[in-house]
């Protein structure tokens, strides 16, 4: 029986559970002996002219070796926008020189012998800022009255698409429009950002940093520091979560490398959480307007989504994410007319990057809320409206009005499975009873049906590199360009190799995140790893078998065609003649047994599913509690159910978190008010139920494993299902819409307003 599809426990865990993983701040590498500690001095003002930075007192403080300001980094070219379509004037200085653009903008760096000395000395750097008006929110940004980059002439970083034609909704019996907020949230990987750098006498720099793709980060370092990438050895040690916020190098990381050269000593940096919550990329932050039109029989004829993306101060990945939102705007439905348009806007806040789902949860949230609004308007069950408009099951590629090509899907089956597992009819009956009785705790039932894009080209193509070597002692090594940070690739890639070679999983080592050993790689993001990186390992194992076959045929003096893989032997045997084989290890002893390959997927894949969520809402306090979450997530063939389920669970929690609780907030002056975990309501165990998972697997033809991505399904499906459930719980009281997060205060006020109060 194949090991694929079985619940193999992780090979990573014994070390993680007994000694702990080795994160960047845990490193004790000899090259970092005597490293200085970097502490950033950051702007405490959202927007202003930087008048002066006085470092004299800090330089006198104990343990201070250097205090670096903009003048010292004048030889570094300001960082250009990461995309060609962004206004070119929106460059990012390495350290603020004449202007600060968000609370957290780096102004100076203090280098000290010891860590605590850095915090002491940083407070002694005197910064004088003449405040300018803050730009908080997309409306203020779009007004273009206060500009972050006056030389750009606008706060608009980029625009995508055109307005809908004036007659777009003509002929619709019912048209519903609703502005909605897909709020700014903080990714909060438990490991904050950290980096370390040391230069060798050979002119090369070794950089360690916590990141989702060493190779991509190395390329950025090279571009920014004007260095040959071959002179940069970038290592991502164990990484304590990323969720998209560790995609791409942060300027701080490259600055640590520059500082190490500047002072001629190794330098390390580890931010604390309050620095992380203002300095690390945030996610989502879209203001949307949805308009949906159709007939009273439930047929939807036209759908429009208009997005204003808050990008924060400096352009990062968030600037381009509205294009993914637009691409996925039609979702699982076959609407005849779909329109989407977006603007990306600069505000005096922390920059926006990718956060689990990255553009697709925003599309699904808008669409699935729109369906519920339409259903409420015509008085039809939301499940029925969905069924009426879902694309029929398809096994040949389907091209959408927005230009995506879905590989395959059966959305009705997914919805039906989820509703059946939930016991939908009985839930509605229970809801009716509670409404009839006027219970304080009302029941809400929400659902979503989603399709998402995974394995999209992230700039490194739709492929991945892998190499596989069997050693004479019977062990094997896999080198992969993916970058696991909790996903379990060490186990999963070993399973794939083991399945074809018969070498036990425990004897296969997976190496990643080291650009000297793995120069090529696309990292782990966009739910690409298994369908591209795993597929590359699968391809490598197949190629290794063929290489071994030729060598074994010579060694055994038989026809290669007569040799078959003997998994028990971990080698090749002559067909029909037991005991005649040769092991891969024996062949490796004769001559290095190594293959290097690259797998390229023909196209991205489109996982899909349906979620049903049950909430209880206390109508007197407004508090919502999720009591059940039932999820169908079809990601094609599952390699290791234990790992796939873990990915789903984590996504559901983040979906519930966004729908119910979490939001990054700024006051009108641009001061962050959620910059510690005491203020930012990170979801805890008490706010979640145990989840109910329903299996469905439609293999994709895009790779030999049949695998689609699973990493982001949870946030995409769960978020709107929870939001819909909360609104459904109070819909009978006249509530039509509540923006996320559906906090007790928001729910309470919505009920009060619907009942005619204030």
């Amino acid at each position: 029986m194949s090991i694929l599809g079985t619940r193999v426990v992780r090979t990573e865990d014994p070390l993680f559970l007994t000694r702990g993983a080795t994160y960047t701040d845990d490193l004790t590498d000899d090259r970092l002996a005597g490293a200085l500690h970097a502490t950033f001095v950051r702007s405490t003002v959202a927007h202003g002219r930087l008048l002066s930075v006085d470092t004299s007192a800090a330089l006198e403080a104990p343990g201070v070796v250097a205090v670096v300001t903009a003048e010292d980094v004048a030889d570094l070219v300001p960082i250009p926008p990461p995309f060609p379509f962004v206004n070119r004037a929106m460059t990012r200085p390495w350290l603020a020189s004449d202007r600060v653009r968000f609370v957290g903008d780096p102004i100076a760096v203090v280098l000290t012998e010891e860590r605590y000395q850095g915090e002491d000395a940083a407070e002694m750097v005197a910064v004088d800022i003449d405040p300018l008006p803050a730009v908080v929110g997309t409306a203020a940004a779009a007004a273009d009255e206060v500009l972050l980059f006056p030389e750009a002439g606008t706060n608009v970083m980029a625009s995508f698409g055109e307005p809908a034609p004036a007659d777009f909704f003509d002929g619709c019996e019912v048209v519903v429009t609703q502005p909605m907020v897909n709020q700014r949230v903080a990714p909060v990987p438990l490991e904050s950002r950290a980096a370390a750098a040391a230069w060798g006498e050979d002119g090369r720099v070794t950089v360690w940093c916590t990141n989702q793709g060493a190779q991509q980060a190395r390329g950025q370092f090279g571009d920014w520091l004007k260095m040959d990438p071959d002179l940069i050895h970038l290592i991502t040690p164990d990484v304590g979560g990323g969720f998209g916020a560790k995609i791409g190098a942060d300027p701080e990381y490259a600055l640590i490398a520059w500082l190490a050269k500047h002072v001629g000593r190794p330098v390390r940096w580890a931010e604390n959480r309050s620095e992380n919550l203002i300095g690390m990329l945030h996610g989502r932050a879209q203001d949307q307007v949805v308009t949906i039109g159709g007939r009273r029989d439930g047929t939807i004829e036209a759908y429009s989504l208009v997005v204003d993306q808050d990008c924060g101060s400096y352009p990062r990945i968030g600037t381009v994410l509205p294009t993914l939102t637009m691409l996925m705007a039609p979702g699982v439905y076959g609407f005849p007319r779909v329109h989407a348009q977006a603007r990306a806007l600069a505000t005096t806040t922390t920059s926006i990057g990718a956060y689990r789902g990255a553009g697709r949860p925003e599309a699904t949230a808008a669409l699935e809320r729109a369906i519920d609004l339409f259903a409420a308007e015509i008085g039809m069950d939301p499940a029925e409206v969905r069924r009426k408009n879902l694309l029929p099951a398809f096994s040949e590629p389907h091209r959408t009005p927005m230009g995506a090509t879905y590989d395959n899907g059966d959305y009705t089956a997914a919805l039906d499975k989820a509703l059946e597992a939930a016991g939908y009819a009985e839930l509605r009956a229970e809801q009716a009873r509670r409404r009839e009785r006027g219970d304080v705790r009302q029941l809400g039932i929400g659902m979503s049906v989603y399709v998402e894009i995974t394995g999209a080209d992230n700039g490194a193509g739709t492929g991945e590199a892998a190499s596989l070597e069997v050693h004479p002692d019977g062990t094997a090594t896999v080198l992969t360009g993916t970058s696991p940070h909790g996903q379990g690739h060490a186990t999963a890639w070993a399973m794939i190799a083991s399945d074809q070679l018969g070498i036990p999983v425990e004897k296969i080592t997976v190496v990643h995140g080291d650009t000297d050993r793995v120069p090529e790689g696309g990292g782990t993001m966009g739910s690409r790893s298994l369908q591209q990186g795993g597929a590359a390992v699968h391809q490598a194992a197949g190629e290794l078998v063929e290489l071994a076959r030729q060598r074994a045929a010579e060694k055994l003096e038989v026809d290669p065609e007569d040799l078959v893989v003997d998994l028990g032997l971990a080698g090749l045997a002559v067909r029909g003649t037991p005991g005649t084989g040769v092991t891969f290890a024996d062949l490796a002893a004769d001559e290095q047994l190594l293959v290097q390959t690259r797998f390229t997927a023909a196209a991205p894949t489109f996982p899909f599913g349906a979620h049903v969520v049950v909430v209880e809402v206390d109508v007197e306090s407004g508090k919502a509690q999720v009591t059940r979450l039932i999820a169908v997530d079809d990601a094609g063939t599952i390699l290791n159910p234990l790992l796939a389920e873990g990915q789903r669970h984590g996504g559901y929690a983040q979906g519930v978190a966004q729908a119910l609780l979490e939001e990054v907030l700024y006051d009108e002056d641009g001061n962050p008010t959620t910059s510690t975990l005491a203020d930012y309501p990170f979801i805890s165990a008490t706010e979640l139920p145990s989840f109910e998972l329903v299996e469905m697997a439609t293999p994709t033809p895009m790779n030999a494993l049949g695998a689609k991505g699973i990493g982001e399904a949870g946030t995409i499906g769960a978020t709107p299902a929870v939001q819909n459930a909360v609104i459904d719980a109070v819909a009978h009281l006249g509530v039509r819409h509540i923006d996320m997060p559906t906090t007790p205060m928001r729910v309470f006020r919505a009920v009060q307003q619907a009942q005619g109060g204030n």
Partner: protein
């Protein structure tokens, strides 16, 4: 100032700054890096260790305050023969960890929960671990791991060196 602390069964004496946090003492002075820091506000629990039988967040305790105390970290849970603690085993079997950053604190907190209540319900586990944050697992498999560890009996709520654990 000078402090004497028994860390994972070994007594040691160190000269420390009075303001040194226990978490930094364990990491930087003792070289025990399993204990992680995930916040500055006693919110996340990644730094949870056991001090004289109590599970505490070591970012909120000064090393000086533990002078004379017995401290157990994740590294101190494994027996001399390499045998994992029942809670460690259960976390592996139930896939109760992904990136691993919250794990050392989560394991120590789970031991505290089981010391307090050897047979907790799903809800009691969730309430017991409310002060320990995880971004990867959605807590689903952590709750299952604690339930599974409870099945191992009283050892699941104890740390080596026969220290009594209570919350």
């Amino acid at each position: 100032m000078q402090i004497s602390i028994t860390v994972n069964g070994q007594q040691r004496t160190d000269e420390v700054e009075p303001r040194l946090l226990l978490a930094h003492y364990l990491r930087e002075v003792c070289g025990l890096k399993a204990t992680n820091l995930g916040c500055d506000t006693t919110s996340c629990g990644a730094c949870t260790v056991i001090v004289d039988g109590l599970s505490v967040k070591s970012c909120t305790v000064l090393a000086a305050q533990t002078d004379g105390a017995q401290v157990t970290t994740l590294e101190g849970l494994t027996g001399p023969d390499g045998e994992m603690h029942p809670v460690q085993k259960a976390f592996r079997e139930e896939h109760g960890l992904q990136c691993g950053f919250c794990t050392p604190g989560m394991v120590m907190a789970a031991i505290g929960v089981l010391a307090d209540n050897p047979d907790p319900t799903d809800r009691e586990i969730r309430e017991g671990l409310e002060g320990n944050l995880c971004r990867c697992t959605g807590y689903h498999n952590i709750v299952r791991a604690v339930q599974s560890a409870a099945g191992a009996g009283p050892a699941a709520g104890q740390v080596p060196q026969a220290q009594e654990v209570a919350r």
